[in-house]
C-alpha cells in the first residue's frame, strides 16, 4: 500500500519551510490581509445565529456517530447510489484510486477532463497521474486555475491562491492564456477565466469532482461552491467521476440542515454559498449518463483506529482554523508541505501518511486554542496535536523530538511577535489539555516555554481578549 498526501513526504520540515517563507513579505502581506477579511466576515455571520453552539455540537455528534458506524453507512451509500444508476468503486490508497480513474477514462478514450476543486485529488496526486497518461486536466475553480497555470501550490484549503495578489494573477493569465492585453481589476481577471473555461465546460465530456457530503440513506452527493464551475462540471459532461474520502458520508439527507448552515458561514463568511448541487445517481435527460463514485481510504482507517484523534475525520474542510491560526497567518500554507495546511493539516497529514514523514507538523502550532474555538464540528485540534507529539516521542525518536521542538521554537522565538505570544500563552495554553482536572505532560515546544513562564506575568485577560486587543492596537497604528 502506498499512502500519499500529495508529495508531503518529500517536503522539507515545517520549521525549515516556514523560515524560508517568513522572508517573503509580499506573501505574508497577502495572507494576512486575506485571512483578516474572511475572519471578520465569518465573525459577523456566525454572531447572527443564536444557536451556533448547538449547530456545532450537532455537527460534531453527527460526524462522531457516522464514524462509529462507518462500515454500515458506506455500504448503505453504495447500495442507494447503485440503485440510482451510479457505479461505486473502492480504493484503499492513492495508487488504486488513480488506477480506477484512469481505467474509466481509458475506456472512454478521454484526452481531457475538467475538474472542480477536489483536495482529495491533490492528495492522491491525480493530476500527475493524468498527465503521465497523456490526459490534460483543467482545473476550473478560479483559485485552482491560478495555482495550476502558475505552476504553484495551494496555500489555503478554501482559497488556494490567497497568497497571490491581482498583479501576479494578471501576469499568470496573460502568459498562460496567451492574451494580448488584460486589465488588473478583479473583474477583468474573472472575465478572462470565464471566457477561457466556458469553451471547456461546453466541450469536454468527462468531469472529476470531489464531494462535500455523501448521503448514505439516499445515495445523494452534495457539492458546495460559489462560482458555478461546480455546477458546470457535475451537470454538463456525459461522464462524471466523483472522488470521495470515506469520511465524507453522512447518515441522512436531513443532516445537511446542520452542515449547510455551518460550512458556508465558517468557510467564506456567507450565510449561504451561491450554489449547492445535490444529485442522486443518474437522471435520464439531465446531466451525466455515466456516474462513478470512488470511495477513498488512503490512511483514513488508521485515523479511525486511534480513538484519541479519530475526530480529525469530522473535518468539513471549511478553513476557519487556518484563518484563526497565528502560526498559519505568519507563514501561509506552503510550509505545511501539502494541500492540507494550517491546524487541520498539522494533524491530518501526519496521521494519513506515516508519522516519520511529517513529524515536525504537530509542532507547527502555538497551541493557543483559536482553531478549536472556531471549528464548526468542534475538533479539539490542540489536544490532538499534543497526542501526536506524544506519539512522536513514544516512537523512540526522542532526540528528534527535541530537535524539531527546538527548531520550531527557534522559528517562533526569532519573531518578536511570536515570542511575545508564546510567553503569554504558556499558561493559558494548558487549559484545553486538562482531563479530569489534571494537566498532562506537555511535550515538545511548550515544555521549552515553561522556562519563560516566570519572565512575564500572565495577563488576567482571556487569550481571545488579549489577542483581539492586540490586533485592534495594530490596526490603529
Amino acid at each position: 500500500m502506498s499512502i500519499r498526501v500529495g508529495d508531503a513526504a518529500e517536503a522539507p520540515s515545517f520549521p525549515r519551510a516556514a523560515r524560508a517563507l517568513l522572508g517573503n513579505t509580499q506573501l505574508r502581506q497577502n495572507v494576512r490581509r486575506a485571512t483578516e477579511v474572511i475572519r471578520n466576515r465569518r465573525a459577523r455571520v456566525v454572531g447572527e445565529l443564536s444557536d451556533w453552539e448547538q449547530l456545532r455540537q450537532a455537527g460534531h455528534e453527527i460526524k462522531q456517530h457516522t464514524l462509529q458506524y462507518l462500515d454500515f453507512y458506506l455500504e448503505q451509500f453504495e447500495e442507494a447510489c447503485t440503485r440510482a444508476g451510479g457505479q461505486v468503486h473502492w480504493a484503499r490508497d492513492a495508487d488504486e484510486a488513480n488506477a480506477i480513474i484512469l481505467s474509466i477514462l481509458g475506456a472512454r478514450q478521454a484526452r481531457e477532463v475538467i475538474k472542480v476543486k477536489t483536495m482529495t485529488s491533490d492528495e492522491i496526486g491525480l493530476n500527475h497521474a493524468l498527465e503521465a497518461a497523456g490526459i490534460t486536466p483543467y482545473e476550473t475553480d478560479l483559485a485552482d486555475l491560478i495555482v495550476q497555470l502558475g505552476d504553484d501550490r495551494p496555500s489555503h484549503i478554501v482559497v488556494p491562491a490567497l497568497h497571490r495578489n491581482r498583479m501576479e494573477v494578471r501576469d499568470i493569465f496573460l502568459r498562460k492564456m496567451h492574451l494580448r492585453e488584460l486589465g488588473d481589476k478583479p473583474e477583468d481577471l474573472t472575465n478572462a477565466a470565464r471566457a477561457y473555461l466556458r469553451e471547456k465546460f461546453l466541450r469536454v465530456g468527462v468531469a472529476i469532482s470531489g464531494a462535500n457530503f455523501a448521503v448514505a440513506e439516499t445515495g445523494s452527493v452534495c457539492v458546495v461552491e460559489s462560482e458555478g464551475n461546480g455546477r458546470m462540471c457535475v451537470s454538463l459532461p456525459e461522464v462524471l467521476i466523483t472522488l470521495v474520502g470515506i469520511e465524507k458520508v453522512i447518515p441522512r439527507f436531513e443532516d445537511l440542515e446542520v452542515f449547510l448552515q455551518t460550512l458556508p458561514r465558517s468557510a467564506t463568511g456567507e450565510r449561504m454559498n451561491p450554489y449547492n448541487s445535490i444529485w442522486t445517481g443518474i437522471v435520464p435527460g439531465d446531466g451525466p449518463q455515466e456516474f462513478h463514485v470512488v470511495l477513498l481510504d488512503n490512511g483514513r482507517t488508521k485515523v479511525l483506529a486511534d480513538t484519541e484523534s479519530r475526530e480529525t475525520l469530522d473535518c468539513i474542510r471549511c478553513g476557519a482554523c487556518l484563518n484563526a491560526c497565528p502560526v498559519y497567518r505568519q507563514t501561509g500554507g506552503h510550509a505545511y508541505g501539502s494541500m492540507y495546511s494550517g491546524p487541520i493539516g498539522a494533524i491530518l497529514t501526519p496521521q494519513l501518511q506515516s508519522l516519520e514523514h511529517s513529524e515536525s507538523l504537530p509542532y507547527a502550532s502555538s497551541l493557543c486554542g483559536a482553531c478549536y474555538e472556531v471549528c464548526p464540528v468542534k475538533i479539539n485540534i490542540p489536544e490532538i496535536l499534543l497526542h501526536l507529539r506524544a506519539k512522536v516521542t513514544a516512537a523512540g525518536d526522542a532526540p528528534f523530538e527535541e530537535r524539531v521542538g527546538m527548531e520550531a521554537a527557534a522559528f517562533v522565538f526569532e519573531d518578536p511577535d511570536m515570542l511575545a505570544l508564546a510567553q503569554k500563552l504558556s499558561r493559558i495554553a494548558q487549559k484545553p489539555f486538562e482531563r479530569d482536572g489534571v494537566i498532562r505532560h506537555l511535550p515538545g515546544m511548550l515544555s521549552g516555554w515553561t522556562a519563560f513562564r516566570d519572565l512575564t506575568p500572565i495577563p488576567k485577560q482571556s487569550f481571545r481578549e488579549w489577542w483581539n486587543e492586540r490586533e485592534s492596537q495594530r490596526g490603529d497604528q
Binding site: Y69, D71, P186, R194, E227, M232, F253, G287
Partner: protein
C-alpha cells in the same frame, strides 16, 4: 470486490466495539438548534427580499394574475426579446410579443447563445435568501438554468420557508430529482477577497415575487 471487502474489514477493525445500536445512537444526537423562525409569513417574505437585495438580485412584486405582465416589464427593462423556458412552464406566465423557446433537448451551444432563461422554483429559504430548483419538466434540466447569462425566476410567497432546516425537510421529499440551491448570482472572492459577481453561472438574477 477484493478491495471493497478489505476496506470494510479494515474499517470494522478500526472501529472496534460499539456501544449501543445504530438507530438509538443516531436518535441520541442532540439537535438543539432552531428548526423554525419565530416570525410569520409577511416577515419571512420581508427577510427573503432583504437577503436577495444583499446579493444584488433585483426583486419585482406582483399579484398572481400579473405574472405575464411583470415578466414583460422586466424583459423590456433588460432589453431582452427571447428567453428559454422549461418544457412545462405555465403558459400564462409568458406574455405575447416576446419569444419563448421550450427546451426540448436544445444543444449546449444553443443554450449558450440564448438571451436568458425564465423558470419557477420549488421552494425558497428566507434566512439565507436561497432559491431551490428541483430539476424536472417544470423547472427544467440543470443545463438550462446554468449556461445562460441571465435567469429570471418566479417565486410565490407561499413557497418561502424561514430556515435551512425547514427547507431541507421539504427537499428530502424531492426523490431523485437533482437539486440546485441558488443564493444570489454566481460569485467569487478568490482574487484579493474582493467579491466579484458572476463567474460561470448566470451573472444576472432577477426575481419576481408573487403574492
Amino acid at each position: 470486490m477484493n478491495e471493497r471487502s478489505e476496506m470494510l474489514e479494515g474499517i470494522r477493525r478500526a472501529i472496534g466495539s460499539r456501544g449501543s445500536d445504530r438507530e438509538s445512537d443516531y436518535a441520541s444526537i442532540r439537535r438543539g438548534y432552531h428548526q423554525a423562525l419565530p416570525i410569520d409569513l409577511p416577515e419571512c417574505v420581508h427577510l427573503f427580499v432583504d437577503r436577495l437585495h444583499d446579493y444584488d438580485a433585483t426583486v419585482h412584486f406582483c399579484p398572481v394574475e400579473g405574472i405575464a405582465a411583470t415578466v414583460a416589464a422586466v424583459l423590456s427593462g433588460r432589453r431582452k426579446h427571447s428567453l428559454l423556458v422549461p418544457p412545462q412552464l405555465p403558459p400564462d406566465w409568458m406574455p405575447s410579443n416576446f419569444e419563448f423557446i421550450r427546451d426540448t433537448g436544445l444543444s449546449y451551444g444553443h443554450i449558450d447563445r440564448s438571451e436568458g432563461v425564465l423558470t419557477g422554483c420549488a421552494i425558497a429559504i428566507a434566512a439565507t435568501g436561497t432559491i431551490v430548483l428541483r430539476h424536472s419538466a417544470g423547472e427544467g434540466r440543470r443545463a438550462l438554468t446554468l449556461i445562460p447569462d441571465y435567469h429570471l425566476c418566479v417565486v410565490f410567497e407561499h413557497q418561502i420557508v424561514g430556515t435551512v432546516p425547514e427547507g431541507i425537510r421539504l427537499m428530502s421529499e424531492f426523490g431523485r430529482a437533482p437539486i440546485t440551491t441558488i443564493s444570489g448570482p454566481s460569485a467569487t472572492a478568490d482574487i484579493e477577497m474582493t467579491r466579484i459577481k458572476g463567474v460561470h453561472g448566470p451573472r444576472t438574477l432577477d426575481v419576481i415575487l408573487v403574492a
